[in-house]
């Protein structure tokens, strides 16, 4: 099954990967281990999951204003997710990707989706992010 969701590109770019879905917001600083890519906020359901190379689908950022620095460092060291899909624009995460683009010409695509589309994405769906904010979703038949 394949379908296309139309989102708003917050930071434009192309990427693909399998979805890592969190229902809860996350502070990247204090929530992401910069050496392993693991979610380390022990209060979250997805604590222990590794974001590296995945398309990280979570409603929004929260908490620390250092999250932009954490995101930029993770992009530089290749620990970052392949892309981020949010429900709400988080200026702090957008900033981390934009500064990375300015400094290293290496941006991490961020797309914001409408509620219905956002919640239609399931864990391990294969997502392809396009520069115009389109998100192509394909689901393995076995996963239904």
């Amino acid at each position: 099954m394949e379908r296309t969701l139309v989102g708003r590109p917050i930071v434009s770019g192309s990427a693909e990967g399998t979805a890592l879905v969190s229902k809860e917001p996350l502070s990247f600083w204090g929530g992401l281990d910069l050496s392993t890519g693991e979610i380390i906020d022990r209060r979250l359901q997805r604590s222990g999951a590794v974001v590296t190379g995945r398309v990280f689908v979570f409603p929004r950022g929260k908490g620390s204003s250092t999250s932009s620095a954490t995101l930029m460092e993770s992009i530089k060291t290749d620990v970052a997710p392949a892309a981020i899909v949010n429900l709400k624009v988080d200026p702090i995460l957008a900033l981390g990707s934009i500064v990375s683009d300015e400094l290293y010409h290496k941006a991490l695509p961020i797309v914001v989706l409408a509620e219905k589309d956002f919640y239609s994405i399931k864990e391990d769906d294969h997502l392809t992010i396009e520069p115009d904010g389109k998100v192509l979703v394909s689901r393995k038949p076995s996963a239904k």
Binding site: P25, D33, R43, T66, T70, I92, L103
Partner: protein, 425 residues
């Protein structure tokens, strides 16, 4: 480009004010597009959070700007940094880390930032005034500036803060505009005894709850004591901005944009009303701890956000109460207080600095346990009176954490294990 720019904005983008200002302005304009801001606006003060975390990229960013000759054009204070600049050797920080931290600090002071090195800038120097348009980083300080002072800032993340300071410009949107500052949800404190609300742990506990309840909405709290102190509100802000993303809350009769409910809602109605009862506070308090009662304690951390002079005095009073009974700090427990140079300058003029140091309190300045490698790797259980520290410690430091009042922290430090007897909240 859809963002309307002034002549000076265009000149900044063209590089007429230097290469660093060009880069800063490019980032600001891209952020204006992200935030759908129609134009840019002036800010008259900045607080930099980007100087806190030591990372290769953060250091490179700061040095890139500094080498290009960037200078801030508005008064700009600095958040805590990655190093106690005077005493780092005492805390076992390695030379390589320190050398890079010193380079990062120098990049920011070379840009003419004021070396306040504190995460409680509102208690330190250049406190913003009501209605002042500012660009502040540091989640607890953003919340305090907006809520308690009535200054206006968005949640500025690391690196846009210095861009704003270099150019004096930010995207015109969000909490800079009065219409976006109106309360959206009402949190009512129901049947909470005044004695509970005098306990400092109440404010961190409430903050933790407010952060998780408010989600991305602006809350107004009804029923808070109108004489709440700066330190109590600091604790509330820090906790609410950690469990959630609270950049602004109102409190009826207490914060400057909420003399009445009507004023807080700017004539509108709450989208949601949530009642907070003692049982909710008890649950919130329990949620702040991962360690259990009677667990062996390794470290007490106080001063998140940075300790004020009043908090030092309160700590000295609590320690005196123990030492007068012949009690001492347990040999297996360390007590670290994090603070800033301005509080410490006052402390040095007090008659109780010796009370603290004789007991074994270690005071570190300019930095924080999360950003400088000073917590011993074998530390397993810590205790703190900070909702923010309790929120982040399990993940960031890999420890179990117990939340308690300052009195409970000191009582536990004497006993050598987690000991909380204030059962109310």
């Amino acid at each position: 480009m859809s963002v309307k720019l002034s002549i000076r904005d265009e000149q900044l983008l063209d590089g007429q004010h230097g290469e660093a200002a060009r880069m800063a302005m490019r980032i600001l304009v891209r952020m204006a597009e992200v935030q759908s801001a129609p134009e840019m606006m002036d800010v008259s003060q900045a607080h930099i959070d980007g100087c806190g975390l030591l990372s290769e990229t953060g250091l490179e960013f700061a040095e890139t700007l500094a080498v290009k000759g960037a200078k801030v054009c508005i008064p700009t204070t600095l958040n805590m940094g990655p190093l106690d600049l005077q005493n780092w050797r005492r805390f076992g920080v390695n030379e390589d880390f320190a050398a890079k931290a010193i380079r990062q600090a120098k990049a920011y002071t070379d840009m003419e930032c004021i070396p306040t090195w504190t995460c409680a800038p509102y208690q330190s120097y250049l406190t913003p005034r009501f209605g002042q348009q500012i660009a502040w980083g540091e989640s607890n300080a953003i919340c305090y500036a907006n809520s308690v002072l009535g200054a206006r800032t968005n949640r500025y993340g690391d690196f846009i803060d210095i861009c704003a300071a270099i150019t004096g410009r930010v995207p015109r949107c969000g909490l800079h505009l009065k219409e976006n500052r109106k309360a959206q949800i009402l949190l009512r404190l129901i049947d909470i005894a005044p004695a509970i609300m005098r306990n400092n742990a109440f404010f961190a506990t409430l903050g933790h709850l407010v952060g998780s309840q408010a989600e991305d909405k602006i809350p107004v709290i009804e029923g808070l004591p109108v004489d709440a102190s700066s330190d109590q509100l600091k604790a509330l802000c820090a906790a609410a901005a950690s469990s959630g993303e609270v950049a602004l809350f109102h409190a009826i009769g207490l914060t400057p944009e909420a003399n009445t409910l009507e004023e807080a809602f700017q004539g509108g109605k709450p989208e949601q009303v949530i009642d907070i009862r003692l049982s909710d506070l008890q649950k919130s308090r329990a949620d702040l701890s991962t360690a259990k009662e009677a667990d062996m304690l390794d470290l007490v951390v106080l001063g998140c956000p940075h300790f004020s002079f009043d908090e030092f005095r309160e700590l000295a009073r609590l320690i005196r109460a123990q030492t007068e009974k012949g009690k001492m700090l347990h040999p297996n427990v360390k007590v670290i207080v994090i603070s800033c140079q301005t509080s410490y300058a006052l402390l040095q003029r007090s008659d109780f600095l010796d009370v603290l140091t004789d007991f074994g309190v270690e005071i570190t300045l300019d930095t924080c346990v999360f950003h400088t490698p000073m917590v011993a790797p074998d530390t397993k259980v810590i205790m703190t009176n900070s909702g923010k520290c309790a929120y982040y410690a399990p993940g960031e430091l890999g420890v179990q954490v117990a939340f308690g009042s300052m009195a409970e922290c000191i009582a536990s430090a004497v006993k050598g294990h987690i000991y909380r007897k204030e059962t109310l909240v």
